[in-house]
Each structure stands twice: as structure tokens, then as C-alpha cells.
């Protein structure tokens, strides 16, 4: 499963660094593609702009999606992914600081696969990342993307 990339959508460089560190600490060696805002994330997912030529159906192993993002918000990104036939079943995990109920509700209603809150305690954060990686990269049988037509 190491051939699959992990798409990390995160605008905060601190969080980005910490996430990458946590992944590394947990020996998750998959390539991590970082999108720093929602638009960029969508570009990657739908292979547009800088990611033109990428195979859309070549899904990342998991999308770690923050909610508060510049340009296009996390929930909007999620909705767009779920709205497209090619990406509808793509595993998306919201990883965010918020525990606002409305965010959780909307996330789940929009078809997110998991909702994980980023703990402040870095130890706990590392543990959370470990669990996510273990689960989505090892334990979970990934969905099969639709065939190219």
C-alpha cells in the first residue's frame, strides 16, 4: 500500500509539519501530497491545473481533510468529491481542530468516512495519526475506483 499517496489538505504549516512528523514517527512511508487550500486539493483530486495529466481514478489511499481552509472550505471540497462519479467513493477523513457539532453533522451528511479531531497534546496527535494510518492504509479494504472509460 505504500505506492498510494496520502492527500493532506492543510493550510496551517505548523499542523502540516506536525502531521508529517507524526506520519513519519509512525513509519507511514507513503508519499504525502499536501494541498494548502481547498482549490489546490480539488485540483489534485480532479487532476486540474498543476495536476493536469494525473489519473483522476488513481485515488489517494486517504484524504486527510482540514475544514477551515482558504479559498474553498473543507466541507465544500468533500461535497465536490462526493458529487463526482469518479471520486464518489474516495476515502476522506476529516481531521480538524473543531468539534463543533454542525461541522460533524455536515461532514457526515456529506459522506465523510471518518471525523477525527486533532488533539492539542502532540502525543495524542501522534497516536491519532497512527491510528488513521493503520486503519486506512492497512486495515481497511479500499474501495475500487471506477474504471476508466
Amino acid at each position: 500500500m505504500t505506492d498510494k499517496v496520502i492527500l493532506l489538505v492543510e493550510d496551517n504549516p505548523d499542523d502540516e509539519a506536525l502531521t508529517l512528523r507524526a506520519l513519519k514517527k509512525n513509519n507511514i512511508l507513503n508519499e504525502v501530497v499536501v494541498a494548502r487550500d481547498g482549490a489546490e486539493a480539488l485540483d489534485y483530486v480532479f487532476a486540474t491545473n498543476q495536476y493536469t495529466g494525473r489519473e483522476v481514478t488513481n485515488w489517494p489511499a486517504v484524504v486527510l481533510l482540514d475544514l477551515k481552509l482558504p479559498k474553498v472550505g473543507g466541507l465544500e471540497v468533500l461535497k465536490r468529491i462526493r458529487a463526482d462519479e469518479r471520486t464518489r467513493s474516495m476515502p476522506v477523513v476529516i481531521v480538524t481542530s473543531s468539534r463543533e457539532e454542525q461541522d460533524m453533522m455536515e461532514g457526515y451528511n456529506s459522506g465523510v468516512n471518518s471525523y477525527v479531531r486533532k488533539p492539542v497534546d502532540f502525543g495524542q496527535f501522534v497516536e491519532a495519526v497512527k491510528q488513521i494510518g493503520l486503519y486506512w492504509l492497512l486495515l481497511n479494504e479500499p474501495p475500487i475506483p471506477p474504471r476508466r472509460t
Binding site: D14, S98, R99, V120, D121, F122
Partner: protein
């Protein structure tokens, strides 16, 4: 009230009329008396009629009877007289044929040729004559020759009077027998039978030429002794009955038989024909009559007349009418007496009956009067002119408390209270001295006085009554306590109505539709700015008070009420005489007479100017308030939105830097451990701890705000089950703790499950936390008997650190803590959250505790 008012004069009249009857001024009705008179008259007339008829018929019968009797007697006597005359005439004629007579006559004639020479034949003739006179009782027997000269006569015979000579001459001339009466005194009358004597024996020569008689024989009888007794003899004795023979002499009628009522020896009565009594004439004319007439005396008599054919005499039988009617009169008298007796009897019976009826009527009236008097609702007292009570009814006893016996004879003034007596006396004297003052006049309302000296208001109506004992006064006395009270109450109620109207600014009015007259209450006048009780009002004058803009409205309402019978209920403006404007609320409704004709209208008018102003003010304030609420709500909504955004932002943005601080702190510790001494590492740990605590604070703050913002969903919630699951979670977190848990069953409430779980979790984990240092920790969740208002009180009790009640008010403040962070960790949000949840459920939370003795948190929902 009304019927009783009418009853008083009525009962006074009744007493008066009864009393008048008692003293006999009127007695029975005129009609009833007439009936009696009529019955009596009818009886008398019937009886009289019957009597008259009876009398008339018996009179007629009696008369007929008597007439028949007279006829019978007349028949008898006429027959006797005729028989006697016939017999005498036959005897005379027989005598004339005697041979001795013939021989003697022949001898007479032969000797005549030889005068003066008595012959033997003559002597023997006298002998024969004597013999005849003796045998037949003749008073004298004469024989005359053809020259009417006396031939011979019986001895002792009366002298041959010239009249006899004439008679005999007549007989010889006619050759017929005749009967003659001689004399004109009944007591001395003779009757002569004169017979011609023919030469051949008997009148057989009738067939041949009449033979000249030889002479005539005259036989004279004393009528007094022979004929008259036949007539005058009364076979049945009477006092006035008599039979009379009459005959005609020229133009006179002569009564020749003895008359009972004429002294014997008097000459015969003689009447010229026209003036003769009718019966005599009738008898002579041959009528057999039976009539009433007057006799020769001029006395009314009953007569029967007969004719004696042989002589042409008349026979009159008569009796005095008086005598004939004697029996009848006697009988009539007896009958009359009997009838009188009957009439008296009838009168007596009627009088008795009338008296009986009168008594009964009087008794009935008396009883009726008594029961009327007794049942009268008023005291009825009759007093004489001295004011002494002569009659009193039951009500008087009851009302004044005197037994009746005590009332009678007492002065009527005793029934009056002292102050009222003078007026009463004055009134009494006016009535009793001036009888013409018939009307009872206005009632007087003195105070009455009972036997027990208690006084009460009464009303007295006096009526004078004339009686044989002088003027009596009837007083009708009524207890008017109740009326007085009612009047007082009415007065009070009117006063309070007036007061109420004044306070409520509510006036009322009545309008007589027909006469267009309106009555306004005092307050009504005041509302319209007029003097109370001011002049009468009409529709026009009322309308003039209306505000010109509202006039049509009021007129329309009135019109609809008058035409459709619809009560109206409108607000309108009026203008007072001083020009000020008032707003009033008017109501009115029509009262209809039969036939749906509006007759009266009643209504109210309330001055609502102040109310209207107040309403206007309220409306304005409300509008203002509403505006303000809208503004505030908008502000609040904005604040809420801001708060939401704030919370959202805090949730996301405030935590990220903390995570960076904590994360990079850790990175430092991990990656640069050898470049930091122990003290530096300690500081880094503190940085991390501080950031983590701040994250906790942020979380708690957010959760508290969430509790407030979250929507509530009410449903039945089993608190007991919740408590058990929370406790087991806590225990799972710290399985090493030795702790006694007591959770009561059946604490089921209505509320938001999630919020209640948060609340309960806060309370239980609080208890859990503060019993940490207790070797024998005990936590209890239960339900206490209810509060005063019936609400269940739940509690969570522990035997942990407890708290000082002095700070109890700080317990539920957000981020307030009573313990050092070092002793017991926490942010001070748990109890604040619990309180907020309880409050959101409309409940109450409070705590009791003591330091080191534990704490109890009570809550209701």
C-alpha cells in the same frame, strides 16, 4: 305590593257594607224582595182567580137553582089554580043542567004569567040551591031569568049586587059561562061562576041555532077561603117567597091575590100597564119566563111567570134575591174567609222563608266577612266615635300581640306609639266628626306599638261608617317594616348606583320613543357637561351633543336599533357645552311593546376619554416596545451569530496554535534533548502543560456555550439508567478505586436525553473526583420525597471533600473553583454546565455541603 294595596280599600268597603247590612240599612237586594212580592202576588191572584171563578159559577148555579125552584113552584100553583077553576066551572055547568033547576025555572016562567003566585017549584028550587051551597060551599047561589031578574037564591046568600046583575045579563046575552072576581080587597074577594041555563038539558044544542037561555045560574065562592089559599100556601117555608095572581082591568094590572108584604085588608095594588112590574106583565102576556126583576116593592127578586088560560090571569112566583142568595153569600163569606186565611198562610210562609233566607245570607256573609277579615293581611280595627275598639281581626292580634279579648273596649290609640297618637287622634276626630268626608284620604304612617312596647312602622287607612250606634271608624293597619326596609335598601342601592356611576363615569338613560322624552341619570348629565337633573331631553337635544363627525354613526346605530331591534354598542365623541370633546362608549337597546312596536329605549353612556387616552398611550408604548424588541432581537441575533462565529473560530483557530506550541515543544524535547539541560526541558514541559490546559479550557468553554445553544428535544428519560451507565464508565476509567455506589431506581423524568446525560455526568464525575481521597468513598444518586409544590427532588450525594457553605453561591459560576488545581483538577465549568441544563429544563439546582464531610447536589426538573 299592588294587589295588597288594592285589598285594603276593598276590605274596608267589605267591612262597611257588612256592617250596614248588620244594622239593616239595606237587607236583601231589591231584586230578591221583588221576587218575594211576585211570588206572593202570584199566589194571591191564582187564589183570587180560582175563588172568583168558583164564586161566579156557584152564584150562577145558585141563581139557576133558585129560578128552577121558582118555576117549579109556579108550575105547581098555576096547575092547582087552573085545576080548581076548571073543577069549579065544570061543577057550575053541571049544576045548570040539573032538572030541578030547569023545572023550577019553567015553573017560574009559568007563574010569571000568573004573577004573585008562589009556586011549589020555586020553593023547591031554593031548596036545591041551598043544598048546592051547602055541598059545594058556595057563598051564594043565584038563579036569574032571561031578563036577569032574580029568580031564586039560596038562603043566607049575600044580596044579588048590581054587578052580579050585569054579569048575569052578559051571560044570558052571550050564552057563555064566565068567571068573575068581585071586590077589590084580597081579604074579601068573591069569585063567581056564571052559567047560562038552557031549556034543553046541556049545551048540546050547540049544533043548532043558539037557543035563548032560560036564565042563568050564578055560583059565588069566597076566593079568600077557596082560591087564595091555594096560591099563598107555601109548601116550603121561606121568608120572602110568594105567589101572586094578577089580572088586567082595562089599562091597569091588578095584583088581586093576598100579598105577603102588604098589610092584609089593603086594597089591591094596581099599576098602569107601562109601569107595572115586568114579571106581572110577562105573566099576563102569557110568557113563561124565569127572570130577575124588581117586584112591586122595588126589591130585586127572582121570578117565574105563568099564565092561567081559563081566566087570562097571570101567576107570578117570586122570592127575594137577597134570600135566594143567602146561602150563597154565606158560603162566599166562608170561602172568602178561607181564602184570606190561605193568603195569610202564604204570606206567612213567604215571610218565614224570606226571613230564613235572609238569616242564611247574613250568616254566610258574616262567615265570608269573618274569613275575609281574619285572613286579611292587615290589621282591621273598628272603633266607635270614642275611639274604643269594637272589632278587631286575627291579624291585629298577631301584629300587636294582644289577645282579642284585651283589644275590645280598649282605646285604639293604645296601638300607636306615643309620638304618633296626637296625629292619629286628630285624624280620628276629623273622620268621626265629619261623616261626609267619605274617602279614607291619604294613608298616615305612624309608628305602631305592640303589647311588649316594641314599635314598628305602620300604615293606617281610615274609613268612617255610619251605624245606628253612631259613626264607627274602620282602620286598616299594615305593618310596613319590610317595605320600609325595602325602601331603605332601594334608597341605599340607588345611592350606591349613583356613586358607582359617578366613579365609573357611567350614566344611564331611558327614552320614551312615543313621546320623545328622555330621562338622564345624574352622571349622564355630568358626562355631557350638564347640571345633574337638568331639563328634559329629547332625541334632538341629545343629538345636538354629538360630535358632528360621529353624528351619522350614532343616528345609524339608533336607526338600526329602532328598525331591526338590534342593540347597539358603539364608541363616539360628544361635545360639551364648554366646547371640550369627550369620547364615550354608548350602549342601547329597544324595548318593544306587543306587535313589535318600539316603545322604550334604555342604554348607558360611559365616559371613556381617559381610557381612550390611556389606550392610545398603551398602543404607542407597545409599538415602541415592539420596535425596541425588534431592534434588540436583531441585535441579539447578530450577537448570536457573532457568538457562533466566535465559537466556531475559537474551536478551529485557537486550538491550532496550542497544538503547534505543544507539538513543537515535544519536537524540541525529542530532537534537541541533548542541547537542553534538565531545567530547559522542565520549562518546555510547562509550556506543553499550559497549552494543554488552555485547550481544555477552550473545550470546556465551547461545550458550555454549546449547552446554551443546543436545541432541546423532550422525551422520557430514565435518569437511573443514565447514572448507572455513567458510573460504569467512570469505574472503567479508574477500576482501582474502591467506592460504594448507590443508585435509586425509577428516576424517570421528561427532558432532553443528551443534555440530562451531560448534567448527570458532570454531577457524578464531580462526586467521583472529590471522593478520590476518601478511603471509603460513597456516591449516592436518589430521589427525595417531593418538594412543597409536588415536584420530585433528585440528588447526588458524596462523602468527599465537601465545601464551605459560605461559598455556596460560587459553586455554579462558570470557571469558578473552590479547590486548588493541585488538589482537584478541573476548569470549573462542570457545575455551571449542570446548572445551565437544569435551568433550561425549568428546574432548580442547589447544594449543601461541609468541608471534609461531603456534598449533596439537589435538583428538580
Amino acid at each position: 305590593m299592588k294587589p295588597i294595596r288594592m285589598l285594603v280599600p276593598f276590605s274596608v268597603r267589605a267591612v262597611k257594607s257588612f256592617a250596614q247590612r248588620l244594622i239593616g240599612r239595606r237587607g236583601l237586594h231589591a231584586g230578591e224582595s221583588r221576587a218575594y212580592i211576585l211570588a206572593f202576588a202570584l199566589g194571591v191572584v191564582t187564589l183570587g182567580g180560582f175563588l172568583a171563578y168558583q164564586t161566579a159559577s156557584s152564584y150562577r148555579k145558585e141563581m139557576d137553582n133558585w129560578k128552577a125552584r121558582q118555576s117549579s113552584v109556579a108550575d105547581d100553583r098555576a096547575q092547582m089554580v087552573s085545576a080548581w077553576l076548571n073543577e069549579r066551572q065544570a061543577s057550575a055547568e053541571l049544576s045548570s043542567t040539573r032538572p030541578s033547576l030547569l023545572a023550577a025555572l019553567r015553573a017560574y016562567y009559568s007563574s010569571a004569567r000568573h004573577p004573585g003566585r008562589p009556586t011549589g017549584e020555586l020553593a023547591s028550587l031554593v031548596e036545591v040551591l041551598d043544598q048546592m051551597a051547602k055541598v059545594y060551599g058556595y057563598a051564594g047561589v043565584f038563579v036569574v031569568d032571561c031578563e036577569a031578574r032574580l029568580v031564586a037564591q039560596s038562603n043566607d046568600s049575600l044580596a044579588l049586587t048590581p054587578i052580579l046583575g050585569e054579569i048575569s045579563a052578559n051571560v044570558i046575552r052571550t050564552g057563555a059561562t064566565r068567571i068573575d072576581l068581585l071586590g077589590n080587597v084580597p081579604s074579601g074577594m068573591l069569585i063567581s061562576f056564571s052559567v047560562p041555563v038552557f031549556p034543553e038539558a046541556g049545551p048540546a044544542a050547540a049544533s043548532g041555532p043558539p037557543t035563548k037561555p032560560l036564565g042563568a045560574a050564578l055560583l059565588v065562592l069566597d076566593a079568600t077561603r077557596t082560591l087564595f089559599p091555594l096560591v099563598t100556601r107555601e109548601s116550603v117555608p121561606t121568608r120572602s117567597g110568594e105567589t101572586v095572581l094578577v089580572r088586567r082591568e082595562g089599562n091597569d094590572i091588578v095584583f088581586f091575590s093576598p100579598l105577603r108584604h102588604v098589610r092584609a085588608g089593603s086594597p089591591n095594588l094596581r099599576f098602569p100597564l107601562p109601569s107595572a112590574p115586568f114579571p106581572a106583565r110577562a105573566a099576563l102576556e102569557g110568557h113563561e119566563a124565569s127572570v130577575e126583576a124588581t117586584d112591586y116593592r122595588g126589591v130585586p127578586v127572582l121570578t117565574a111567570t105563568r099564565h092561567i088560560p081559563l081566566t087570562g090571569w097571570g101567576l107570578v112566583r117570586k122570592i127575594d134575591r137577597a134570600e135566594a142568595l143567602e146561602d150563597f153569600q154565606r158560603m162566599a163569606i166562608v170561602e172568602g174567609l178561607a181564602a184570606g186565611l190561605l193568603v195569610l198562610l202564604l204570606g206567612g210562609i213567604l215571610a218565614f222563608h224570606r226571613r230564613h233566607v235572609l238569616t242564611r245570607v247574613l250568616r254566610q256573609e258574616g262567615e265570608r266577612f269573618r274569613s275575609l277579615l281574619e285572613s286579611a293581611p292587615d290589621s282591621m280595627v273598628v272603633a266607635d266615635s270614642q275611639g274604643r275598639i269594637v272589632l278587631a281581626n286575627l291579624q291585629t292580634e298577631r301584629q300587636f300581640g294582644y289577645p282579642r279579648a284585651e283589644l275590645l273596649g280598649q282605646s285604639i290609640e293604645a296601638l300607636m306609639a306615643e309620638p304618633s297618637r296626637a296625629e292619629y287622634r286628630e285624624r280620628f276626630h276629623r273622620h268621626s266628626s265629619n261623616f261626609s268626608y267619605q274617602h279614607s284620604g291619604p294613608c298616615m304612617t305612624p309608628l305602631g306599638r305592640r303589647k311588649d312596647a316594641s314599635e314598628f312602622p305602620i300604615e293606617v287607612l281610615m274609613t268612617p261608617l255610619e251605624s245606628p250606634e253612631g259613626i264607627l271608624l274602620i282602620s286598616a293597619i299594615r305593618d310596613i317594616t319590610v317595605r320600609k326596609q325595602a325602601e331603605e335598601m332601594l334608597r341605599k342601592s340607588e345611592a350606591s348606583l349613583e356613586e358607582a356611576q359617578r366613579m365609573a363615569h357611567l350614566g344611564n338613560w331611558e327614552w320614551d320613543v312615543v313621546s320623545d322624552r328622555a330621562w338622564w341619570s345624574d352622571e349622564m348629565c355630568r358626562i355631557f357637561g350638564l347640571n345633574p337633573g337638568s331639563s328634559t331631553h329629547t332625541l334632538e337635544s341629545s343629538m345636538n351633543c354629538m360630535h358632528s363627525e360621529d353624528r351619522a354613526l350614532v343616528e345609524n346605530a339608533l336607526k338600526e336599533a329602532l328598525e331591526g331591534g338590534k342593540p347597539y354598542n358603539i364608541d363616539y365623541r360628544i361635545i360639551r357645552p364648554d366646547g371640550s370633546e369627550r369620547v364615550v362608549h354608548g350602549q342601547g337597546e329597544i324595548l318593544f311593546a306587543e306587535g313589535h312596536k318600539p316603545v322604550r329605549m334604555v342604554g348607558t353612556v360611559q365616559d371613556i376619554t381617559e381610557r381612550k387616552q390611556a389606550e392610545e398611550e398603551i398602543r404607542r408604548l407597545n409599538a415602541e416596545l415592539e420596535q425596541r424588541v425588534i431592534e434588540r432581537t436583531t441585535e441579539l441575533a447578530a450577537a448570536n451569530r457573532e457568538l457562533e462565529a466566535f465559537a466556531y473560530s475559537v474551536s478551529h483557530d485557537l486550538r491550532a496554535p496550542l497544538r503547534a506550541i505543544d507539538g513543537f515543544g515535544q519536537v524540541l524535547l525529542e530532537d534537541y534533548r541533548e542541547k537542553l539541560d534538565a531545567e530547559g526541558q522542565g520549562y518546555l514541559r510547562r509550556v506543553r502543560a499550559a497549552s494543554q490546559r488552555m485547550a481544555q479550557l477552550i473545550d470546556d468553554m465551547l461545550s458550555l456555550s454549546r449547552i446554551t445553544r443546543q436545541e432541546m428535544l423532550r422525551e422520557p428519560v430514565d435518569l437511573s439508567a443514565l447514572a448507572r451507565s455513567i458510573a460504569s464508565r467512570l469505574q472503567a476509567q479508574q477500576p482501582e478505586r474502591n467506592l460504594e455506589l448507590m443508585i435509586a431506581d425509577d428516576a424517570v423524568v421528561e427532558g432532553d436525553r443528551r443534555l440530562l446525560e451531560v448534567m448527570l455526568e458532570n454531577l457524578l464525575s464531580n462526586a467521583w473526583k472529590f471522593t478520590r481521597k476518601q478511603p471509603h468513598a460513597r456516591i449516592e444518586f436518589g430521589k427525595e420525597c417531593t418538594e412543597g409544590d409536588g415536584k420530585a427532588v433528585y440528588f447526588v450525594r458524596d462523602n468527599g471533600a465537601g465545601f464551605d457553605m459560605a461559598y455556596a453561591d460560587k459553586l455554579f459560576g462558570a470557571f469558578q473553583r473552590l479547590h486548588a488545581q493541585g488538589d482537584f483538577e478541573g476548569t470549573g465549568v462542570g457545575l455551571a454546565t449542570a446548572q445551565r441544563i437544569i435551568h433550561r429544563h425549568g428546574g432548580r439546582i442547589w447544594a449543601r455541603g461541609e468541608v471534609d464531610k461531603g456534598a449533596t447536589f439537589y435538583f428538580t426538573l
